[in-house]
Every structure is written in C-alpha cells, then in structure tokens.
C-alpha cells in the first residue's frame, strides 16, 4: 500500500500553488490518488508564507494527514524555518542551499510572533538563527535533506534552454522543486511534464521550457525515498477542489441563478460556475433538444444583502437559486434568511466557513458557525442545515440542497469550510446522476385567476406557481398573512400560518433519509464513540483505522436535528466530541436535543484543520480521563 504525505512550501504568490498543482496532477497522472490542502495568509502577496500539505496513495482516500510529512519541498529559507518540525523521521526535505546564510529576522514577512518563538528555540539549542542551523536541526531529527543551489542550477539550465533573464529563471523554481520531489518519489519525469502542462495552462512556450527544466533537474537528484511506479487506477478520476466540487454539484442540481459577493474562501465556487457558462446539456429534455448548452445567471452583486435578495427573487421567479458566502457574508444575509422562511422561498446558501469571529482569519479554517447556522435569522421558521464531511459528500449534498430548497421552499444552509474549499484532489468521480433531481411541478390554471399561495395545506408546503406561466395572480409577502398573501394579524390566523410553516420541519425530518442525517462508522457495539461533523471526517476515519473498536458518529443534518437517531447511537456510550471550535458546539447541540452530555470534548481553534494525529492524540487523552482537550498542532 502506498501512502505518502507531502508538503510544498514557499513565499505566497510566488509559485507555491502552481508547484503543488503540478505535483498533485503529476502523481495523479501516474495513476495515484492524491489530495492536498492549501494554507495561506489573508493578503495577496508581499512574501507571506504559504504551503500545501497532502497525501498520495493507491486507494481513495489515501489516509489522513498526520502532524508530520514524509516529503517536504521547501522553496525558500523562510519555508525551512516554518516547517522545521513538520518532517517525519525517515522523511526527506528539499531546499535551496543558497539560503543557508539567511537569518531568521531577515524574513520580514514571517509572523513576528513566530520569529520570536523560533528565536527562543534556537537560543535554547545554542544555535545561530540561520537557515543552515534549521537544516541541521532537521537532519538531527533523522530527516534526509537534499539541497541544491537553486539559482545556480537554474542559471545553468537556463543557459542550455536559452533563458537568461533572472526574473524568468526565478519562475522555474516551482518546476525545479517538483522535479526534485518527483525524483525522490521515483516518479518518471514524463508525469512531471504532464503536471507542468496542466498547471501552466495554455502558454505553450513556457510549458516547453518548464518541461526542459524538469528533465534537467531530474538528472541532478539521485536519491530516492519511494518508488511510485505508474499504475492503472481502478476507476475514472477527476481533478478538482472543494469549491469546484460544490459548484458543479449545484449546477448538476439544477441551480441556474447564482448571486454572490466575493469573499474568501467562497468566491471560487460561484466564479467556477461563471467560468463554465454556458453548460453542456444531455439531449434529454424536449425544450433543450435544439441546444447544446444552457445558460445560468451568475451575478456579482454590490453586497451580500443584495446577493441573497436577488437569489430570493430568482427563486420566486421559479429558478433554482443559490448564493455562497462565508461568516461575515452570512451575517449580512440573516435578515433575508428569515424572510425566506416567512415568504416561503427556497434558496441554497453554501456557507464556506472560516475562522472567526469578525474578519478573523479570512484564509484559515474553523468550524465556528454551527450553532449560528442553526439559529440564524430572527423569529422561528423552517430551515435546513446540512454539513458535508468530504469532497464527495459535498458534491452530493450540493445537489440535495438544491432539491430541498426547491421542494420545501425553505432556506438551506450547506455548511462546508475553508479546509474543504482549498482541498485539491485527484479522486474517483462521484456518480453525477445518482442523486435524483426532485422538482415539483407548478400549478398551471387553464385561465387567469386569483390564487392563494399560502393555503393552509396539510404538509405545510405553499402552492407552487410559476409567474408568467401559471396564469395565477398571487401575493408573496414577508408579513404574517392570510392564505391570499395579504397581511393579517388575526390571532387565530397567525397561529395557523405559523403552524403551517413549522409543519414543514416535520415533513423534512420525515423525508430526508437516514444517511443524510447521520453516518455511523466502526463497530456497532463500540463502547466509545467519537462524535464530529464536517471536514474532520477523513482525518477521523483514518485515525479509526488505528483505533480499533472505537465508533464514529458523523453528524450531517444539523437542523432539523435527528434527535432520535443520535440518541440511538449515543445512548450508553462514552462519547468524545471532536471539532474545530472553542465551545464544542456540536456537543451543545446534541445535549440541547437529546439531553446526552459529552464525556469529553477535543477542540481546536488556532485556525488550522484537525489532523489525523490530532484525533489520535485526542482519543488518547480522552482515555486518560481528560475532559477538555485543546488541540494545537500547526500544519
């Protein structure tokens, strides 16, 4: 079984991303599965440190991310400092020997806090705070270090391939480190070339040059830590990231109106939908026979207030409508979310949550918004909150969310996070047609008439009209109303309408299948159960492989809460809740609905995702009797 963890680090905006994508795609082309997540600072350039950390394997998913990696490609001296503690014994690090002499404080763009801490460390160790010392330290931890003088090497290669400008040459650093890494992994250079071609896009000449660089560099590295023999994968695979998987999910789910205001880490979701416009169609539906592609409106609005209001209007018009945002944007959408509840309009809100509060850490992850998602919006109204655990689930959930918003005419919050948004993967293609698209048909009258959209129906669902098609004259309204949709404050009518709306919660609870509510992994008779939600899933599942006998309950539908199911799985068990926030929100939610208290909680709130090793640590400390475990690893 192949399972290799890797890391690519370098100055932000200077090719780290390209290098990582090259590597991921190269390895993917060779028939492996791979994923990597991106960590970066919330400013554009200026030399802050950024990195990808991921996993390569011959099965999907290729296991969790631990606290250390096997292969580290460090593009500059700053990266050496940042990842000194991130490489495992027996692993290998690639770096630029020309940076040896640089000191810690010469890296102006390093967090000053980190500089001070590392400074302390070197002092304690009696070492000079230089890159060289850091490299020595890394070696002392049983790590093989492969250094090359990057600029010198590139200058030589440049001479061969006819590039001399230093600026141009510096652009080859990403290819250089990837080629070094590939050599170390025993990956034939032709796959690196595929990675190069994919990552660099359509610039032909540039691709050719980079390919030559790769070939030259490959010759310079003779060591090897692994041998990735090209293999034929079991299934067809796709390369995408979390933002894209969800975006495509919505498109598949029939969403044709997307309004948004840019915000990290959500923007790439609607922007992908925009880039892909118009979308290719299958020759199935009558109305589409004549067309090869269909359009959609993807609308950048002036703010988030407008984004969700526009989606609400589109939903009224009859389109499947969605918006995407993160915490600050969702806060601005709160008033309209409440309106969706009252007026009974279905909109999907993909919440790409990030580390808060406020602007917080715009490019770091956090699971801080669970209870907020559940209780957002003044007043009481039906709403759905679903959290996805991984890329595949996120894709399917996006389709389901589109179904539910349309069917129940309620706001649906699809809870994902920065971790998922920036996870890039080569993985098996989920079956794009396995989720049935459920689209209720509108009522169409034979001739024009006044209609009651808010009839007091038994299931609570409003009557569905398509304006301009239904021949219905009707009123949609945010005030409490009578069946005609006009304001009514009569106490009895108020109560009836309120109940009618809330009945939808029962309907939703009844109709959403169990596997969308919770998923249980591990032995049914486990006496200890880890409870979690969202993107901790992969890390917990990987940890579970080592924690034999432990169960894992993944919470998926967070509202309406599947209290009975959760009770069934947790009653009488020892529970450890693991999640990326301070107050252990899911444990609060579980207790609110079931009365069951967590035996222990393990939380992380330093802006970094929970790793597989975090999970193992949490479990160990749980077994030692700790009640509140704070996870702190920074990777």
């Amino acid at each position: 079984m192949v399972e290799i963890s890797f890391l690519v680090g370098g100055p932000q905006g200077k090719g780290v991303e390209t290098a990582s994508i090259m590597l991921i795609y190269a390895v993917g082309s060779a028939g492996y599965y791979v994923y990597g997540r991106r960590e970066f600072w919330s400013n554009i350039a200026g030399g802050r440190h950024s990195y990808f950390v991921g996993k390569i394997g011959d099965r999907w998913p290729p296991g969790g991310i631990g606290n250390k990696v096997k292969l580290a490609l460090l593009m500059d001296g700053h990266s050496v400092f940042e990842h000194m503690f991130h490489i495992e014994r027996g692993g290998v690090a690639v770096y630029n020997t020309e940076e040896d002499g640089k000191t810690l404080d010469s890296f102006m763009m390093m967090s000053r806090t980190a500089q001070e801490r590392l400074g302390e460390f070197f002092k304690k160790q009696g070492l000079e705070p230089t890159v060289k010392s850091a490299v020595e330290y890394i070696k002392s931890q049983g790590v093989k270090v492969v250094g090359l003088p990057f600029n010198k090497v590139l200058l030589e290669i440049g001479r061969k391939i006819g590039v001399t400008s230093p600026v141009m040459l510096s652009r080859f650093v990403n290819t250089l480190v990837v080629a070094m890494g590939a050599s170390l992994l025993g990956l034939p250079v032709e796959y690196v070339e595929r990675g190069v071609a994919f990552a660099l896009g359509r610039k032909k000449e540039v691709i050719e040059q980079n390919k030559m660089v790769a070939a030259e560099v490959a010759k310079l590295v003779n060591e090897r830590v692994e041998t990735l023999t090209p293999r034929t994968p079991e299934v067809k695979r796709i390369y995408w990231n979390g933002n894209e998987a969800v975006s495509v999910g919505k498109i598949m789910g029939g969403v044709r109106f997307i309004s948004f205001y840019p915000i990290t880490p959500s923007t790439d979701d609607p922007m992908f939908a925009e880039r892909k416009l118009p979308y290719p169609v299958l020759p199935v539906a009558e109305e589409l026979k004549a067309m090869e592609r269909v359009g959609a409106v993807v609308l950048q609005t002036e703010d988030e207030l407008a984004a969700i209001a526009a989606a609400a209007g589109a939903a009224m018009a009859g389109a499947r409508a969605a918006t995407a945002t993160s915490g600050p944007g969702m806060s601005l959408m709160a008033e309209t979310i409440s309106m969706l509840g009252m007026a009974e309009l279905g909109v999907v809100l993909t919440l790409w949550s990030r580390a808060g509060p406020s602007t917080g850490l715009a490019t770091r992850t956090g699971q801080h918004d669970l209870l907020y998602s559940v209780f957002i919006g003044h007043g009481e109204f039906p709403k759905i909150v679903i959290a996805s655990g991984d890329l595949e689930e996120a894709f399917y959930d996006a389709i389901k969310a589109a179904n539910w918003a349309d069917k129940y005419q309620v706001p649906v919050i699809h809870l994902v996070d920065k971790d998922l948004s920036n996870t890039f993967a080569v993985m098996p293609i989920p079956d794009p047609y396995s989720v049935k698209i459920e689209r209720p048909r509108p009522v169409i009258f034979p001739e024009e008439r006044n209609a009651n959209r808010y009839e007091l129906t038994e299931d609570g669902l409003p009557i569905r009209y398509l304006p301009g098609v239904s021949k219905a004259v009707y009123h949609v309204v945010s005030l409490e109303h009578d069946p005609e949709g006009d304001p009514d404050e009569d106490a009895e009518m108020v109560e009836k309408m309120y109940e009618k709306r809330m009945r939808k919660m029962e309907l939703i609870s009844k109709e959403i299948p169990e596997e969308d509510k919770v998923k249980y992994y591990g032995p049914p008779d486990a006496d200890a159960v880890i409870v979690s939600w969202g993107t901790t899933k992969l890390q917990i599942l990987s940890a579970l492989e080592r924690l034999k006998g432990v169960g894992f309950l993944q919470l998926r539908l967070l509202h309406p809460f599947p209290a009975d199911l959760v009770k069934r799985y947790l009653q009488g068990k020892r529970t450890l809740f693991i999640e990326g926030n301070y107050t252990a929100q899911s444990s609060m939610l579980v207790r609110m609905h079931t009365g069951i208290s967590a035996d222990a909680v393990a939380v992380k709130y330093n802006g970094r995702p929970i790793t597989m090793d975090d999970v193992l640590e949490a479990y160990e400390r749980f077994e030692r009797g700790e009640k509140r475990i704070v996870l702190e690893w920074d990777l």
């Binding site: 029939g254 290719p280 199935v284 539906a285 002036e302 209007g313 009224m316 009859g318 794009p432």
Partner: protein, 313 residues
C-alpha cells in the same frame, strides 16, 4: 416592456380583493390610481407583471393591486426585483417604495441597479418622512425642517435621489406629483415602456406626518417640463449623452423648484439582459433560468462529463 395581450382590461380589473389602508388623503393613493390606469392602458398581463416592494406605507401598494407581487423586506426590493427579472426577463417587473425604503436603508441597491441597467422600473413614492414608523425624517427631508413627529429640527440634509440614480447609471429619470394622477400615469407609462432601468420620483405627501411638505408646499414649487417645447431629454446618439446628462442635472439641481416630467432618457445603453446575451449566453432570452427544465425523469440535464472534460483523468 416586452409584450402585448389581447383582452383589454380596465383600471378596475387591476384592483385586488382588499381596499387600501392608507390615511385618507395620503399621496400614495394617487400613485396607486395612476398605476392602475397605466396597467389598463398597457393592458398588462396580471400574471406576468410583478410588483415588488420593501416595507413602508408605500410598500403596501402591491397588496392593493391585482398582479403578482412580492412585499419583501425593508430596503431589499431592488435586488429582489433584479433577481426575479434576470431569472425570467419575460416578466414585467416594477418596484414601488418609499424614500426611506429606496434611498435610506436601500440606497446601496440604487447604486448597484444603475450599473446594470436591467429593464425594470422603480417608482419612488417620496414623502420625505417614514410614514409607517410614525413620521421620522426621511432621506429627502431638507436640513433644519421639523415635521411634527420630530422633537428637534432635522440635522441631516436631503440627498437628491434623481442625481444619485443618474450617477449610478439609471437610463431613465423622471419626476411627478401624486395628486396629479393623470400626469403621474403619463410619466409612469413612459418609464415602464423605457428599455432599461427607469426611475420615477413621485412627490407623494404624507398627510399624517409631513405637515410641512404638503400639497401647498409642493404646488408652489412644481412645474412641468413639457411646457417647454424645446425640452428633449432623449439621447438620440451616444455623442449627445454628455450634454443631455448635464442638462438633466441642471434641472435636477435647480434650487427651490421641482421640474416634473422626463429628465433624461437613453436607450442606447445596452440593458443587462442584452449584455448577458452578448457576453455570457446567447440563449438567455429564449430559455432563461426560471424556464429551464433542469431534469428529465429525475436525471440532471447537464452533461457532467463534458462539463468537466478538462478535469477528468
């Protein structure tokens, strides 16, 4: 405006089942009357015409009209209407709202709307106060004025809604006066017929709270542009635009007087719908988002493998 229907309707046909609940004498009645009249004149299809409003006395108007409507939340009528219109450009979309709704809490969406030039109409029912919340100062109430609900004179100056709309990109600007129902109907009709984003400021007194800007107050100030036979607010050629804008602004800023009529009209600016067709999706008008079938027998109509072709290994 995009279609014509056969059976000719009367204003009466556009009355909803319940009567207005405004204070007797409220200016908003005039806007309602004018609208019903225009709808009848244009014989608009009530099932394809959508009135959208926010919250306010003015925003109640849709409940008195027999068309499809959405009475949304305070300040968000415009983006709601834009979403609705863009999801189905075959609908006739008209926003009505007060000065508070459209230019205080909703002001940002005027800026957003102007940039798009969506083919829709905004009717501002301007009484310079917040009627529904009992008479506080609206964004069009002049500095130092103290209508009866205020305990102190207004420390805010008024903004100029039509100038804001022009600065944002609205391609049709007009003003009317609600007690002149006929004229208001005429102006609103032109606005609805305009291709692009149109705004009509209707001076619509609040008889309950604005005891200063009353019928008398307005009637001392208003005059009709139509009386000047040389007045031509239409941009016939893009080259004229700069001049026509300047002339419109001259009228809009005119001190102490309130010109009624069409101030500016430019149909040469492409509508958002036209831009979308040109730059995004040639089939947009034919089969817009709201009218697309998204599934066939429960299966998505999208060709996933083609959509993601460049990503499949």
């Amino acid at each position: 405006m995009t279609t014509v229907v056969k059976v000719k309707r009367t204003p009466q046909d556009y009355k909803w089942t319940k009567p207005p609940e405004w204070c007797p004498g409220c200016g908003h009645f005039g806007v309602l009357q004018a609208l019903l009249q225009v709808f009848a004149e244009l014989d608009m299809d009530p099932t394809r015409t959508v009135l959208v409003s926010g919250i306010g006395c003015s925003s109640r108007l849709p409940h008195y009209v027999r068309t499809v409507s959405a009475h949304t939340i305070h300040g968000r009528a415009i983006p709601f209407a834009i979403g609705l219109k863009l999801a189905n450009p075959n609908l006739e979309v008209i926003v009505v709202g007060g000065d508070g709704d459209l230019f205080a809490i909703g002001g940002n969406h005027i800026l957003g709307a102007g940039r798009r030039n969506v083919d829709f109409t905004v009717i501002l029912m301007d009484n310079a106060v917040y009627g529904l919340t009992r008479g506080q100062a609206g964004p069009t109430l002049p500095l130092g004025m103290q209508p009866k609900a205020l305990s102190k004179p207004n420390p805010h100056a008024d903004l100029n809604p039509l100038l804001v709309a022009l600065a944002s990109g609205f391609t049709f600007l007009a003003r009317s006066y609600s007690y002149d129902i006929k004229y208001t109907a005429k102006v609103i009709k032109e606005a609805i017929l305009h291709k692009g984003s149109a705004i009509v400021q209707v001076l619509s007194p609040c008889v309950t709270y604005n005891n200063i800007m009353t019928r008398e107050w307005y009637e001392k100030r208003v005059y009709k542009l139509d009386n000047d036979p040389t007045w031509d607010p239409v941009v016939h050629d893009e080259k004229e635009d700069y001049e026509k804008k300047k002339r419109a602004i001259e009228k809009i800023l005119e001190p102490d007087r309130l010109a009624l009529g069409v101030l500016y009209k430019n149909e040469l600016v492409p509508t958002f719908e036209e831009r979308y067709i040109a730059m995004y999706d040639p089939n947009y008008a034919k089969i817009p988002p709201a009218l697309q079938p998204v599934e066939k027998d429960g299966k998505s109509v999208i060709d996933f493998y083609k959509l993601m072709a460049d990503r499949i290994l």
